[in-house]
Amino acid sequence: MRIGVYICHCGTNIAGTIDVQALASYCGSLPEVAVAREYKYMCSDPGQELIRQDIRDHKLDRIVVAACSPHLHEKTFRHAVAEAGLNPYFFHMVNLREHDSWVHVDKLAALEKAMDLVRAAVRRVKWHVPLERREVAIHSEVLVVGGGIAGIDAALTLASAGKHVYLVEREPTIGGHMAQFDKTFPTLDCAACILTPKMTAVKGHKNITLWTYSEVQQVEGYVGNYEVKVRRKPRYVIEDLCVGCMECIQACVFKQGKTSDAFNLGLSKRKPIYIPFPQAVPPVVVIDREACIEFKSGKCKKTCVEVCAERNAIDFKQQEHIESIRVGAIILATGFDVFDVSRIPYYGYGLYPNVYTSLEIERLVNASGPTGGEVVLRDGRKPATVGIAHCIGSRDTHTNRYCSRVCCMYSLKLAHLIKEKTGAEVYNFYIDVRAPGKAFEEFYNHVAEEGVNFIRGKLADVYPEGNGGGRLILQAEDTLLGMIRKIPVDMLVLSAGLEPRADSNEVRRLFNIGCSADGFFLERHPKLAPVSTFADGIYIAGCCQGPKDIPDTVAQSGAAAAQALALIDAGVVELEPNTAYVLAEACSGCKTCIPLCPYSAIAFLEEKKARINEVLCKGCGTCVAACPSGSIRQNLFEDQEIYEEIEGILA
């Protein structure tokens, strides 16, 4: 064997602590080492050229580079080795920086350790075998899960790039939370006016297959080749036939709605046959089988069917069905849930009638909401004084530690809108006003100048006025004045924070991605890879990754679409060969490995043997360690290689 060993100085990062000359000369004395060098920056062009030159000149067959972390430059050096005609997996890297020079101060001890590490690598690399990277083709269709603004935007971007997109949304309509808003900050653009054109574009686009009232049921496969089962729930209305005339809703035997309308957050009621809101896309009605008499007793007059006689779009016999699709990339844009304010009982939500959440006020303020855009109390009166409490459920170790980012801005917006519509005296109780975005500070100034009162102090207590007048007393310390204030208000608005969806744990397990400590989906890197995940080919965008406003959401959905495009247009993906494999003759069929695999990569064959799909395998090593008969091995982590490394260290 002719091994080449290269010690990198890494500037002074390594050389500052380890005597690289001594180390290099020690390495030169090791058995089977033909060349041992040290150089200032091995990753640089001349550094790599050293390796390439030596491979040619000295006919080297194994290379060891002792430098920084493999995470940084393993690929670089493997590439250099390959360029010189040697199999790139005849290379091994030693981390002398993060594992040695950066964590020790004793120079002699650091040198000893470096010698141990390199010696071990030299012994190991002899046992390396040639391996090949596998290429798999990438399917060019994309699945977007979630039809809010993030999903809509990502779908439109991909569709206009000529890719076919499946947009799957669990509600009967796309639009998400944005469809519930009235005006958006800081421009006070009408949410519906800017959203509905996009929604219509989705419906009309030839490259988008829109499946609403549908949920992803199962995801199998690997990057570029995902096999997804989508469950299409029955609306009991034939989508292709319904034109959205809504005569059936008019004709329904229920003269008035009796079911709580979720789109209006329970502030109004709807009939069993309904459309979530007039601009819904697709403009198709839905029948709620829990509320519909026909389903409960089978004895309804079915006036809805009568009135739809011409088109005959209503079909009570409709069943759910499963669609199977194959896609190359998946973008998750499943959005957020609003914090449940009843978790903090002393704010009085549910206890006192005129305590509302911010989203409920959005619906009140909205012209197509339950009160036609009038901001009124439960008894129909206009409020004369309104309190808005910031930070409900956020920045609080009892509930959610994080700041929900958008609440300060929407609280300012609601203050403005409420004041405009009712002329009420508005009090915002805040801790900090967070207004970082473009034109946000200007909006804050505008609202302050309008005469909205700002009290810096978190709302501490809410109780009814003593004289039975029905007002609520809001108590807080005005920290800027240094005094306790009691403000009687007619209406209290709780600025609830954003939370991950209630079922986000189940959803992310479908796609095999992680979540961060706060429960939102985990990005690959918080700064440099905010839309990728640790699962190749699966991207996240919008509030499912963390609370954010619409501009940031749209930025992320564009980014996710771009990443997906980059993946698909590359056409193929290369997979690392550090995968595990089963020695069939030694496998006893005990099935210990199968449930352990976090990537579901192990199949149990008919002949009672386990088989690992090397495309799905990420080389975590769990099955290798767990196999009782030792019949699972892993490329680049063979037993002999590891034993040699150990022996090398202990020698």
């Binding site: 978190k458 501490a460 807080a476 310390e477 240094g482």
Partner: protein, 200 residues
């Protein structure tokens, strides 16, 4: 605070300036390390503690300001104020605080130090009551409400006993005024246990 007595002005002018030499960051650190006081430096100054405190309207510094004073290390202000003695240990602040800071324990730490450093307001009834309670329990192992109130009144304002006479009579006729001072049997043992423990 320095007082500038300007003889040409009818009022006294006080400078509300804080110099860095008055701040003791090591002391702040020490308080934050006491059991129950962790999280002191993560205070948002949101004011929820003052807002829920039933007594904050009577305090010279609201609880939030006490935390701010302690954080910045202004030891003398924090220890010589009335606020800490008005704290009724109701724990409303501790339960509402979004950072889960046990403000009540911070108050206790300050009370203890105020007594040790003799910075407490001398004739304020509450520290006097605390001290009498302390002495009584050390001597007898139990406390007597009657004797406690009596001692405290004598040390602060004996005239208030006149005002309390009515209540005293009510208690006496309903059999709720216990004049006897109880003593535990193993009082010597208790005293030595306490002595062995005392920091001073």
């Amino acid at each position: 605070m320095k007082r500038l007595k300007a003889f040409w002005l009818s009022t006294e002018m006080r400078r509300k300036m804080k110099f860095q030499r008055e701040a003791d960051p090591l002391w702040a650190q020490k308080i934050a390390e006491r059991p129950g006081c962790e999280g002191l430096f993560s205070c948002l100054q949101c004011g929820t503690c003052s807002g829920t405190c039933p007594l904050s309207i009577y305090m010279d510094f609201a609880p939030r300001r006490i935390i701010a004073l302690v954080r910045e290390g202004f030891k003398e202000d924090a220890l010589s104020c009335q606020t800490i003695w008005l704290c009724a240990s109701c724990y409303s602040c501790a339960v509402h605080c979004p950072r889960q800071i046990h403000i009540t324990d911070v108050m206790y730490s300050l009370k203890r130090e105020a007594i040790q450093e003799k910075l407490y307001p001398r004739h304020f009834p509450i520290p006097v009551l605390a001290q009498e309670f302390y002495k009584m329990v050390r001597r007898k192992g139990r406390s007597s409400e009657f004797w406690l109130v009596l001692r405290m009144a004598f040390r602060t304002n004996p005239m208030q006993l006149l005002g309390m006479a009515g209540t005293g009579w009510q208690l006496m006729r309903t059999g709720r005024l216990r004049l006897r001072q109880d003593r535990i049997e193993k009082v010597k043992e208790l005293q030595s246990e306490l002595a062995g423990r005392e920091v001073g």
